[in-house]
Structures are given as C-alpha cells and as structure tokens.
C-alpha cells in the first residue's frame, strides 16, 4: 500500500510534441493518500486511461515524476511497481482453472503453497466463486470471467495499489450492484489504495471517496461526490455529474442579483460585477414549479422513470430540466419555475465564481 504522488506529469503519444494540443495529458499534479478509494471520471478520450497506464507503468510519462510513497518510480517497469490492475474486458488464462487463475500472481512471486491455498479460497468466497474453483476458466460467462479478473487483482495483500480500468463494462446491471458493493467492502476490509477509471458517473460516485473529473487531458475538479454535486468547479463537472446534468443559463450578474433574459433572480451572496461569459447553473433537483416563480417556461416533455419524473421545459429556446418526485402532480403547458437560491452557482468563462468578487477559478 502506498501514497501516490504525480508531480507535473504530462504525456504525449508523439515523440516530439510541439503544442499543447499534442498532449493527451496536460500537466497534472495529484496527491493520493494511502488506502484511499479514487475514481477517474471523464468521457472517452479525456486521458483517464492514459493516466492510469502511467501509474501502472505500462507507459512512461513525457515529463514529470511519479512517486509511490517517496520512491521515484517514473522509470520503473510495471513488474517493479507492485500494483494490480483489472481491465475493461475480462483477462483470464483460458487453460487454467479458476483456482489456478487466482493463484497465478502469488505463484509467480514464489509464495508458500499453504498460504496460496488459504488466500485463493478466501478471495473465491468474496467474489462468489468458491463453488467453481476447479472449473476451467474458458467456458465461463463474461460475468464470471470478469469476477476472476477482479479476484486476481485482489489476491495479493502487499500491492501498492489496485487499478481498475472500467471493470464493469461487460457486466449486467444487477450484477454491477453486487460487484460494486463487494469492491467497496473489500476496500473497507483491506485498505488498499484503489484507483477506478470510468465514464459512468454512478460507478465513480458510488465507489470513490474522492472523484477526479477529467476533461480534455486536464483535471477539472477533485472532490467528494457531494462536493461535485453541490458545487461543481467547472461547467463540465456540472454537465457530467447528474442525470440530466446541471442547467446552465446565460445571465448577467450584478451583486446579489442575476438577470436571465430580463428576469431577475435573487442570489444567496454578492458576486460583485463579473465580466466575460457569465452563466447561472442550477441542478434539476433544485428547480421547482411554482405559480409565483421567477421564470416563465413551457413544459415540452415529461419522462417518467419510475422513482421520479424528469420534466423538460423550454425557456426561450433553452432547455431547463427539473426533477419531480414520484407521486407529485405533473405540470403541463405554460407555467413558472423558481430555483433554490442556496443551490445556484455562478460561472464565469466556465469556472465557478466565488461570491464577494473573488477571482474566477479560486475555490470559495
């Protein structure tokens, strides 16, 4: 187990990168605590898998240093880093039995036979495969194979970190619940440093203590799920977290008032007089229908997803989404909406502005 530090790490797939655009990963500084559960969240092509491969040593960064505890491992090969990794698609050794698959990383390190047997059986129990330990891996379903991959990742107790690269892609929704909770309890139990790469916000948020949101080769925000939900630092985080994402409306802000297409909306704090592209952000959860509301909208569509409804409304060509709890009456046609004042965020050139005129991009 180790604390992982990335200092000024950047990576380009080209041998002579010229401009910033040539970098798949722009300069990144990260500090991950020993025993933490972290998620790297972003769309495909945002650089999250590249970052993971830099940590596992499958790639070397173009610049910067990677430290495990305080040891520089930037140039160290994968085998010397003592990490485990689970891939997107199941990687199992077809000709081996489930037991041999799980034992493989231990056997290669010359562990004692009795220990291997004990450890393999414990892991098999955790991933729910104790009954099929002596089956050949080849004939198993994708679900089962991925469980073996997860198990092989977990089987070593001394690893510096366990890395997961979208491990639940091939798993059915029902099985995802099971595997996710198992991962989480394994983390609680053994305290490994875990890094989980995914494009799926639910997986990232439910798995991690801290989520690193990446966009276009950059880290745009690192925070707890709650921070990402309540105070996204960047409009991308607002859009990417939440389903549907944050509503963003072009606005003019003067002090404690935002004006959206001529309609004044009260703010919780004084934002001064921000310049540039100013937007008001509000999550669908905090939009409510209210006869005395601030903005007139037209309801265009209501989607019932069982436990709640998503109301899609039109405000002068901009779509505003709202959540309605199950059982509440559905508004139709023209109506008015209001926003939860405390939950409104103000964004200047895509970065969250702090109240009292602090510069954009600084954390409130």
């Amino acid at each position: 187990m180790a604390r992982i530090t990335l200092e000024n790490v950047a990576h380009s797939y080209l041998s002579h990168p010229r401009s910033e655009a040539d970098y798949a990963l722009k300069t990144i500084n990260l500090n991950w605590d020993d025993g933490g559960a972290y998620a790297l969240l972003g769309a495909s092509g945002c650089g999250k898998t590249t970052l993971l491969n830099l940590i596992s040593g499958l790639r070397q960064p173009s610049q910067g240093r990677i430290l495990f505890d305080s040891v520089d491992v930037t140039e160290a090969p994968t085998t010397a880093r003592n990490i485990a990794q689970v891939f997107q698609f199941p990687v199992v050794y077809d000709t081996m039995t489930v037991r041999q698959n799980l034992a493989f990383p231990l056997r290669n390190r010359g562990m004692d036979g009795a220990y291997i047997k004990r450890r393999v059986e414990a892991i098999a129990k955790m991933i729910g495969m104790a009954g099929v330990l002596d089956r050949r891996a080849r004939g198993l379903t994708a679900d089962a194979k991925q469980k073996i991959s997860l198990g092989r990742g977990m089987v070593r107790e001394d690893v510096n970190a366990i890395l997961f690269d979208e491990p639940l892609t091939v798993i059915d929704p029902h099985m995802k619940w099971e595997l996710r909770t198992q991962l989480k309890s394994l983390h609680r139990e053994f305290g490994h440093t875990m890094v989980y790469v995914t494009h799926d916000q639910t997986e990232a948020l439910t798995f991690a203590d801290k989520v690193v949101v990446m966009h276009d080769g950059r880290v745009v925000q690192t925070g707890t799920p709650q921070e990402l939900f309540e105070a996204p630092e960047h409009t991308f985080v607002g859009y990417f977290i939440g389903s549907p994402g944050m509503n963003l409306l072009p606005a003019e802000v003067r002090g404690k008032t935002a004006t959206v297409a001529g309609h004044a909306i009260a703010l919780a704090a004084d934002y001064g007089n921000p310049q540039g592209r100013v937007q008001l952000g509000i999550r669908p959860d905090f939009v409510s229908f209210d006869a005395a509301g601030d903005l007139p909208v037209t309801v265009t569509r209501v989607e019932d997803i069982g436990r709640r409804r998503i109301v899609r409304a039109d405000f002068r060509g901009t779509e505003i989404n709202a959540h309605l709890p199950e059982g509440e009456p559905v508004p139709s046609g023209a109506t008015r909406i209001s926003f939860g004042t405390a939950q409104i965020g103000i964004y200047v050139d895509d970065w969250r502005a702090s109240p009292n005129g602090a510069a954009p991009g600084e954390i409130a």
């Binding site: 769309a43 495909s44 929704p173 989480k184 309890s185 639910t202 439910t206 709650q226 939900f229 999550r283």
Partner: protein, 361 residues
Amino acid sequence: MLELKGVAKRVRGQTHIYPTDLTLEKGTMNVLLGPTLAGKTTLMRLLAGLDAPSEGRVIWDGRDVTGVRVQDRGVAMVYQQFINYPSMSVYENIASPLRIAGQARDEIDRKVRQTADLLKLSPYLERLPLELSGGQQQRCALARALVKDAGLVLLDEPLANLDYKLREELRAELPRIFQKSGAIFVYATTEPEEALLLGGNTAALWEGRIAQFGPTLDVYRQPCDIVTARVFSNPPMNFTSVRKDGHRLTFGRGVNAPADGVFAGLPDGDYSAGFRANHLGLNVHTGSAIELPCTVGVSEITGSETYLHLHHGDDRWVALLHGVHDIPQDSEVGVFLETRYLYLFDVAGKLAAPAAYAMAA
C-alpha cells in the same frame, strides 16, 4: 402489425425461446428488457427473419412470413457495435440502402439530408465513419436504419458501447426520432431505466420467456410476478417473507402491519413481499409506515442520494435515500416502509396483491 404465434427456438436440444405469443402494433416502441442470455437477441433474430423458428408462425400484416428471407421483409437493424461501411462517407453510408433499392437521385439526396438533420449528422456528411466519435458513428448507423423506411426496426442494445453521457443524450432523443416514423421499433436493453425513458411497451424477458408484456409504466408499477419485478428494478427489488394471518401481516422479527386495503381479501398463508429501494426511508412520513430493523452494510453516496445496503436477517436490501447519509458499517438502523408500496407475491411467484400506490398512479 407483427405477430408471433407460438414461436419457439431450440438449438441442439437447448431451448433458447419457449413458445411465445407477441403482437407488435405499427408505430410503437417495444422494449425487450432482460439480462444477458435472457433471449433478447434470439427473439430479435426471429422477428427479423435472420433465424427460422423451430415452431410457430410469424405473421406480418396478416401474411405468413415464416421462412421468408430477411432481405425480402423490409427490416432494419442496429447493433451494439457501430457498424458502418468504413470506406464510405457518412452521406454514402446513409444513402446506401436507398441506392440498393434503386431510388431516384433527388429522392435519395432529400431523404439522406432529412435523416441526417434528424440525427444531427448534417455537419459530418462528408467525413468517414472512423473520423467520428462513437456517438456519431452510432448516429450514422441509426440514420441508415431509419432512412430506408423499413416496417420493422430492430435495435440490439444500441447504446451499450457508448459513454454514459452520450447514452443519456441519445436516449432522450430517441423517442422523438421514433415518433416521426410509422415503423415498429423493437429495442433490446438490460437497463430498466432505459426502458422507462423510451416509454412505449415493454416485454420483460427471463430465461427465454416473456414474463410480461404491456405499456412500460404498467409493467413497472404492476409486475405480474417476481421475475418481472426483479428484471424491472434497478437497484434490485427488495424481498422479504411475510405471513398473512387474518387481519395481520407478520414480517420477520415480529413486525406487524394491518392487512387492510388490497391485502384484506387475500387467503391466509406465506407470501413474498417486494418493495423498491426508493420506497424505503429513514424517517416516518405517515402513520401507516412500518419500521424494519436492519444492519447497515456499505453506503454508496452519489452526491445527491445514498444507496444504503442493508441486511435484514438473511435478506439483503438496498435503500435509495435522498441526500447524503454516511452511516457507519454494521450499525443498527430502523428503516421505514409504507405498506402502500408493498407488493405481495404468492409462493409460486405470481403477484397476489399489487401495491396500493401503483393502483392509484
């Protein structure tokens, strides 16, 4: 109208689809919902005519098309993989089914542009598919399926290979796109939420059988058996055993509830009680709520909600709570459930009493 009459499929002695009757109306969206290997793809292949059924008939608009080749049926299909002609531009890809059908050049141009507009592909018409993002590639495949005006459009988990956010975007667009076409749409998915967002009708599939088919929200709110309830719940539906004894429902650990309303008419005996994760709460809202003692397992926090994994005796439950609740593992809590959210299933797994809230909805 497309009808399956007693259609079954067996391969080398294994039954993939048990005898099935299914009627799909023109201009409807039909979701096949079920886990992997439930038979979704097999059923689609039978509908398309890619496979011949082992028994039963396929009737299209009153005409028996069992055994008619897929080429002669007017079927379009979109797969999980993004399948386009790699050496043709997006324009040519979309135009290809029309060219094969030998349509006039102006007509092809008009239809291609119209479909590209609908799928927001207009700026990319001259590009090659591999130069597009995954989402755009799948839009191109969708456009090719839509442009040919097929009577039956089959979509086999078309969004499964896309990023979560792209999936969300296309999912919201799909019903709008479908509305404009008069075709029969069949959409296979493993995700209950996707079925709900698409609306229309849903068939819940489990191990080669259609457990229930009907309007999506009806199937969701009034599942006819445990199988459907399980398939159509994410997080999984919670179950516990309950005993009806006169005017009383007895849960494990001595919790009681009055057997009134929909439960009053049930014969005494053992039942399985099912309820969804979002109907469990940590606070009492009404007098009709019962308190169930549980041990907390893992809590998963999404930022706005909390998935609380619970152990209730041998039952394993999930509660979906509003807000952030970080409850330490192994602590004892009482969770509250209003009886109007309770479904009772008999020992054979059939719905004995529907949840009262669902009847009202």
